[in-house]
């Protein structure tokens, strides 16, 4: 009987597994295979080079800058975005003045804010990146114009042109573009938290901060964790690539201060004709991603709260 059951289950799984194998597993394997070759990307003529590409990675200063910047993004981007989104979502849903009619409610005009926050989400990434690029224009951009309008003529940074600031500038644009989505996501999560919990907290005399840390955040933890994972992917993947590629000096500069792993993969493949080496960089990106995944899963499990 048990035997039959498994066959039954397998019958259902064959098709999806086959699709998964063809479109996900086989590209994985191929990519790893190419990382051991000297494939140029422009000719079907290539040979195996063993671990040469990986040995080269260790010597490659640009690669290590890219790893550093990608990891910085990976660590900071989710923290900043999610903290901001949590704060905004809390203020929109719970943080308002307590009235007699409702135990909890958002600040005044919260409906409008919700729409405003979501706005960047409907703009495509290149447009957001371009808008910020204009704003950062040191010569006539919005930010420096604003600074001189309030009398700060002496403070006119080069923004994207300054290696100390460039990565932060790109990161700020990414936060701006993404925070709205998480405000909406967390708002949805918060609205499913039973009101009695808040009532009980209120009766016990909890303030806003206490309510947030002892009621809202623990009950929202699953959503936060999901958001964290998505932001992590964003920080490592195509989104970071698009922002850096469009906004940064070079791109990737000044002086490699904004070089990130996906950009380096792109440059090695499409500019330098070294697709084999690029896939080796890609494999290292995979390793960074897997480490991140493992860490997030581990942290998430420890903090899990059951209700």
């Amino acid at each position: 009987m048990q035997h039959g059951k498994y066959r039954f289950i397998a019958g259902f799984l064959i098709l999806p597994l086959a699709i998964y194998a063809v479109f996900v597993i086989s590209p994985f394997v191929q990519a790893i295979y190419y990382s051991f070759t000297d494939w140029t990307g422009l000719s079907s003529d290539f040979g195996m080079v063993g671990f040469d590409n990986y040995a080269r990675l260790f010597q490659d200063g640009v690669f290590w800058s890219a790893v550093g910047n990608s990891v910085t993004l990976l660590l900071l981007l989710p923290v900043v975005t999610i903290s901001l989104a949590l704060f905004f979502a809390f203020m929109l849903n719970v943080g308002g003045r307590r009235t007699k009619k409702a135990v909890i409610g958002g600040v005044r005009g919260s409906g409008t804010y919700k729409i405003l926050y979501f706005f960047p989400q409907v703009l495509s990434v290149p447009i957001v990146a371009l808008l910020f690029q204009f704003a950062y224009n040191p010569e006539s951009g919005a930010i420096n114009s604003l600074l001189s309008a309030v009398g700060l003529d002496s403070v006119q940074p080069d923004w994207l042109g300054d290696p100390q600031l460039a990565l932060w500038c790109v990161m700020a644009a990414m936060v701006w573009a993404n925070v709205g989505f998480y405000v909406v996501l967390f708002s949805a999560g918060m609205s499913s938290i039973p009101k009695d919990f808040y009532e009980a907290a209120l009766l016990d005399g909890a303030g806003r901060a206490n309510t947030f840390f002892r009621i809202t955040l623990p009950l929202l933890w699953d959503t936060v964790q999901t958001g964290w994972i998505y932001m992590g992917i964003l920080a490592l993947d195509v989104s970071a690539f698009a922002f850096v590629q469009i906004m940064s000096v070079g791109p990737g500069g000044p002086d490699y201060s904004t070089e990130v792993l996906p950009l380096y993969v792109y440059q090695k493949t499409f500019r330098d004709g070294q697709a084999g080496y690029a896939t080796a960089i890609g494999v290292s990106l995979l390793i960074v991603t897997l480490i991140f995944a493992a860490v997030v899963m581990r942290l998430g499990r420890r903090e899990r709260l059951e209700f």
Partner: protein, 480 residues
């Protein structure tokens, strides 16, 4: 409060889903390129009959497949040439396949790997396919037959002899074969508005002391001397490299191109770098330039906020609207000013070279057809058509008689005439793209112009990068 076993099972599923979500986008970066396909290419079309009208023996009825980079020059000039091709070979009418794209490499990579590339490609733009790799992997057809074929306008001349100086050499990669033919011809230098200089009672400064004096005068009026696209600092070499050669002789640039040890330590390099660094130190560079892209810096310059910008002759087309908005701008190009009387080359020495590299892939089915189309494009009629459409010169020497050129192009033409034999053609930017643009351009020259490196530091860093490239076995080397 759900049962524990239920929760953990749900967790397990969630986690595996999350893991899948991770893995998929990561690998999409990796696997975006997959080689494969057999290297066919055995199905080339038969040659046609060789005749005076058909010196390349083009198959008179074979299809032709053309891919053009759709950038600043558009693709109309190529379509016009294709129409002429169809007139010359009537049986090919309707069989000419024309495609234009900005994404040359991602469009063509599968076709190169699969062994069925087009017959003629304009390999240009940000997604230009790497020439070293194409040549190294034997993917290109030698264009010597085209260059030895008679020119359309004057059958007694070979195509080779109708081209501007340096164009043929630019197509060579260390051997006698000519792998690519640059169709457009770009004049690089210091671009300025004659009108804006006149407002300061000045003309283009022919030596560096005058340049500094003019910048000082402009500064008093709140105008910057120079600006440059700090986001792409590899524009600075457009006037800096010929400046180096002017000071120390063309030999210095040749040694730099050949990645010779210590090539950058030449005193001429140091002198040129010091001179440019002085522009920064004296505050003659438009504030914020390190954060501007090419369009933003050109806009500020066209608005008269800065007098000079290192650029190429495409600037007239690219910033045409802003130059027009400035009223009577009177665009002109200047060769690098003389540093002092001991300069090895005369004033007027400048950098000019080909743009829009056209290639005929090795495995093209109709390679003769691709070359024939190039031969048509290098006729005076097509060349004039190109110049009229996009205000740029072509590689055809002359070919502008009777055209009324816009001011910038006319000035470029004069500058070329003045330069005579002293036209330089540094190859770093097509031989070692990563070294020139990213390492030297962004990493060193950009940092120096922003004041974050001194000339000495910049030169040491550049020499280190050049040495690394010389020792890097994954980069193919060239000599000239």
């Amino acid at each position: 409060m759900g049962s524990t076993s239920e929760t953990s099972r749900r967790d397990l599923i969630k986690r595996s889903v999350a893991l899948g979500v991770f893995a998929v986008p990561t690998m999409s970066v990796l696997a975006s390129c997959a080689s494969g396909g057999d290297s066919g290419g055995g199905d080339k079309v038969d040659k046609g009959t060789k005749s005076a009208k058909n010196p390349l023996a083009v198959n008179e009825s074979a299809a032709l497949d053309v891919v053009i980079f759709d950038g600043g020059f558009g693709d109309k000039y190529a379509k016009d040439a294709e129409a002429q091709y169809a007139v010359a070979h009537p049986k090919t009418k309707g069989k000419i396949k024309h495609a234009s794209t900005q994404k040359i490499q991602s469009t063509l990579q599968p076709r190169f790997n699969g062994g069925n590339p087009p017959d003629l490609v304009d390999n240009s733009g940000a997604e230009q396919m790497d020439f070293s790799t194409l040549v190294g992997k034997d993917q290109l057809t030698d264009l010597t037959p085209l260059l030895d074929a008679p020119s359309i306008d004057d059958p007694s001349k070979k195509v080779r002899d109708t081209l501007r100086p340096g164009v043929v050499e630019m197509g060579q990669f260390g051997g006698s074969e000519i792998w690519t033919l640059y169709y457009a011809y770009t004049v690089y230098g210091v671009w300025y508005s004659k009108t804006n200089l006149k407002k300061l009672d000045a003309e283009y400064p022919e030596n560096w002391d005058d340049m500094l004096a003019l910048c000082a005068k402009a500064k008093k009026k709140g105008i910057a001397g120079w600006t440059y696209p700090g986001k792409y600092p590899y524009y600075v070499p457009f006037s800096l490299y010929p400046f180096i050669a002017k000071i120390g002789g063309a030999e210095v640039l040749r040694r730099i191109d050949n990645l010779e040890p210590g090539a950058w330590k030449d005193p001429a390099v140091r002198a040129a770098f010091e001179a440019y660094y002085e522009l920064y130190k004296k505050g003659y560079i438009l504030k914020g330039s390190p954060g501007l892209d090419h369009l933003q810096s050109q806009k500020a310059w066209a608005e008269g906020k800065a007098l000079f910008i290192p650029n190429g002759s495409w600037v007239e087309n690219e910033s045409g609207k802003q130059i027009e908005a400035a009223g009577n701008f009177d665009l002109a190009v200047g060769a690098p000013s003389s540093l002092n009387s001991s300069d090895k080359m005369p004033f007027g020495t400048l950098w000019a070279s080909g743009g829009e590299p056209f290639i005929v892939p090795k495995q093209a089915k109709n390679a003769e057809g691709g070359m024939e189309l190039l031969r048509i494009m290098l006729s005076e009629k097509s060349s004039k058509n190109f110049t009229k459409q996009v205000s740029s010169l072509t590689s055809l020497n002359g070919g502008t008689e009777g055209l009324s050129l816009p001011p910038g192009l006319a000035s470029a033409q004069q500058a070329l005439a003045k330069a005579g034999k002293n036209v330089l053609n540094p190859r770093l930017q097509d031989w070692y793209v990563a070294l020139q643009k990213e390492k030297i351009g962004v990493g060193c020259i950009g940092e120096m112009m922003a004041g974050r490196l001194t000339p000495a530091e910049a030169i040491n860093k550049i020499q280190k990068y050049a040495d690394e490239t010389r020792k890097d076995s994954s980069v193919k080397k060239y000599k000239r």
